[in-house]
Amino acid sequence: MAIRRKDTVIFEKPPVIAAWAAAGGKKESEGPLAEGFDFLTRDAAFPDENCSNWEQAESRLQQKAAEACLRKADISRKELDLVLAGDLQAQCTASNYTMRSLQAPFAGIYGACSTMAETLCLAAALAAGGVVHQALAMTSSHFCAAERQFRTPLDYGAKRTPTAQWTATAAGACLLRNPGQAGVPVLSITFGRVQDYEVRDINNMGAAMMPAAVSTLLRYFAATGTQPADFDAIFTGDLGQVGSALLYEQMEREGIPLPNHRDCGCLLYDVQAQNVQAGGSGPGCSAAVLCTHILPALRSGQYRRVLFLATGALMSQTTFLQGESIPGIAHCVELAGEGTV
């Protein structure tokens, strides 16, 4: 069924992403990918839906993405065999509370900003093996919930450094089905290894995560014998402008330049105009770019083969205060154009 080459699992009969959906907030609705969203709100506090705090609001946003995805796949929640979901909140509560209403078998996953790729890898493997028939891979982030948990109160006056990234208020959901069904094929998956190059600046996450992206890319290229030119585009999640610049430099040094690289953190927003410093971040960022841009382009035929590499910074508020450096991880999903395999 699947061939294992070093860290990469290649599916001979690829499982498919049959449907997907994205939900976003105000800044996302003003960004260049706004048209691709299935649900957008100007007020991501959801005061009309009885949300009394930001944690509930994030959960509500995730629900919107899940509901839209199920609607597009034309199935009910009862037909789901498994949901893999995660978010940035401590103990993954946004996902836990989403699942309280979704009532499907659920496993919570934590991968920080790499969660979309991580849940996608796991769901694809399970779907390829026939263990599940319909599985949802899902994640979210909410600027306000992340800010109050990781940084300072929202009304606290602080100036952001130019290397800081803006946590996306967004959620994305993908429905995975078994090989042979209609959808965007998942050709291979590569779980990353944790990389720590002793970056301690919490306002420079792109720099902290870049080595993880390089590590996974190098392992993937070596295992599969492919090169960047074999892909229409290579998407990294959330490196932002600083991390992307570092990625180019390092890949040049490794002898594998990346001319066709795009970064989700730089795609979700107009980085110059939207006051997001070095770009977007948060699990919802790469999830939203996947569901509003990458997957639609694979369905329309604009792309025929891409890599989706979501990166995550795996520290906590506690380890940060204890002076620990920031470990990074990157998981890679290889996707093909719909109908090309």
Partner: protein, 118 residues
């Protein structure tokens, strides 16, 4: 003239803080703590009082002035009642500002709500 000195001295003290933010990895919380402790020290060695006389609010409004207030309070209390004054002097002098922050904070929490930064 008072006003000009208040503006210039106050602005200059803030510029020092900005340079610390931009050129060092000090977080705002550390800078504030450093300012208050520095204010105590500058006041203790007798440098801050002349600045307050010159610039008025320009020297007393920045957090260095809060440190100066604590140091002055302790000094007066020690003059009045000896060693126990080190426990009472500082916070007595600073009580107005601290109590006002708490009360207005509670009031704001009563009326206000957390708002998106968008």
């Amino acid at each position: 003239m008072n006003y000009l000195w208040a503006f210039v001295v106050g602005g200059a003290i803030c510029v020092v803080g900005q340079l610390l933010i931009d050129y060092t990895s000090l977080t705002p919380a550390r800078i504030l703590t450093g300012y208050v402790v520095s204010g105590v020290i500058l006041s203790a060695v007798g440098l801050y009082k002349p600045l307050v006389d010159l610039a008025g609010a320009g020297a007393s409004v920045p957090l260095l002035g809060f440190g100066h207030l604590l140091a002055q309070g302790v000094r007066q209390a020690v003059d009045m009642c000896g060693l126990p004054g080190i426990f009472t002097g500082g916070l007595t002098a600073a009580a107005g500002g601290i109590a006002a922050s708490i009360l207005f904070g509670l009031l704001a929490a009563l009326i206000g709500k957390s708002k998106d930064q968008n």
